[in-house]
C-alpha cells in the first residue's frame, strides 16, 4: 500500500483487510492518485486511473441522459475470476474516486459494505479543504504524472 496523504492510510488499510481487495486505487476526479494497493507498475496505475475516471464520467452522463439526478452509486463489472468496483464519493477535498479489483475471496457485497465505511472514514479524517484546482483534460494528465512520480519514485 502506498499513500500520498497519510490520513488515508488507516482507513485504507482497514478496507483492504476487511474486503480482501486485490487492487485498490483512490484518486481525485482531477486524476491525482491519492493511494494505491497491489499495483506494481506505474503504467498500470496510469491506465487504471484514466479508464476508471472515464467509465465514471460516462456513467454520470448516462445518468443525466435518463434523468437520474442522483447518479449511480457504483459501477460493477463482474468477470469470471475477478470483479471491478468503481464508485465516486464526496470528501471535504472534493469528489474522489475509488477503483477496487476483487477476486473470489471477496464479493460485491463485502466491497460495497467496506467501501462505504472507507468513504465515511475518509470524509471524517480529511483535513480542511485545500484550494480548489482546475479540472481540465491537460490538468488531469499532469496531476496523474505528478502523483505517479510520488507513488513510484522516478521509475
Amino acid at each position: 500500500m502506498r499513500v500520498l496523504e497519510p490520513w488515508v492510510a488507516e482507513p485504507l488499510a482497514e478496507f483492504l483487510r476487511e474486503s480482501s481487495a486485490r487492487l485498490t486505487l483512490v484518486m481525485t476526479s482531477a486524476g491525482q492518485v491519492i493511494a494505491q494497493h497491489g499495483f506494481t507498475r506505474s503504467v498500470d496505475v496510469m491506465s487504471a486511473a484514466a479508464l476508471g475516471a472515464g467509465i465514471l464520467a460516462t456513467t454520470d452522463e448516462l445518468a443525466r441522459t435518463i434523468d437520474e439526478p442522483a447518479g449511480f452509486g457504483a459501477v460493477v463489472h463482474q468477470g469470471e475470476r475477478q470483479g471491478v468496483w468503481l464508485s465516486a464519493f464526496d470528501t471535504p477535498r472534493g469528489r474522489w474516486i475509488g477503483l477496487v479489483v476483487f477476486g473470489q475471496e471477496s464479493s460485491i457485497g463485502l466491497v460495497r459494505l467496506f467501501f462505504a465505511r472507507l468513504a465515511a472514514q475518509i470524509q471524517a479524517a480529511a483535513p480542511p479543504l485545500a484550494p480548489v484546482r482546475d479540472v481540465l483534460a491537460e490538468g488531469f494528465e499532469r496531476e496523474l504524472d505528478n502523483s505517479l512520480r510520488s507513488l513510484f519514485g522516478s521509475r
Binding site: 464479493s107 460485491i108 459494505l113
Partner: protein
C-alpha cells in the same frame, strides 16, 4: 417458487418471535435478492456478511471432506444469524435476538429452504 411466494415465506420467518429480518442472499456476490426486515436491520450488510460466513463455512467443511454445507448457524451472546441453503447460489438468512424462538426459526427455515430448492 415465485417471488411473491418468497416474500410470503420471508414474512412468515420474520413473524417468529425475536426475528429482526429474513432475506434471500446470493452467496456468490453477497447481495440481497429478496428481503423482509425491520428498519433497524441493514439488510445489505447482513447479505454481504452472511455470504462471507457461508463461504468460510464451505471452505471449512471442504477441508474436512464433509461435503457442501446445507446450514450455518452463528450464535452469539446477543443474537444469532441462521443461514439455510436454497438453490445454488441462494441462501435463506435470518437474524434474530437470542431470546427469540431459535428452534422454531430453524425448523421453519429448513422447510422453506426445501421448498426453495
Amino acid at each position: 417458487m415465485t417471488i411473491d411466494q418468497w416474500h410470503a415465506a420471508l414474512r412468515e420467518v420474520t413473524g417468529v418471535t425475536g426475528v429482526l429480518g429474513a432475506l434471500i442472499v446470493s452467496a456468490e456476490d453477497g447481495l440481497v435478492v429478496a428481503e423482509t426486515a425491520m428498519e433497524e436491520l441493514a439488510t445489505a450488510d447482513v447479505a454481504a456478511l452472511a455470504a462471507a460466513l457461508v463461504m468460510r463455512v464451505a471452505r471449512c467443511t471442504s477441508a474436512m471432506d464433509a461435503g457442501l454445507p446445507q446450514t450455518a448457524y452463528l450464535v452469539g451472546d446477543r443474537g444469532a444469524l441462521l443461514a439455510v441453503a436454497g438453490p445454488a447460489p441462494l441462501w435463506l438468512v435470518a437474524v434474530a435476538r437470542n431470546d427469540g424462538e431459535l428452534g422454531r426459526l430453524r425448523l421453519l427455515m429448513r422447510d422453506f429452504a426445501d421448498v426453495l430448492r
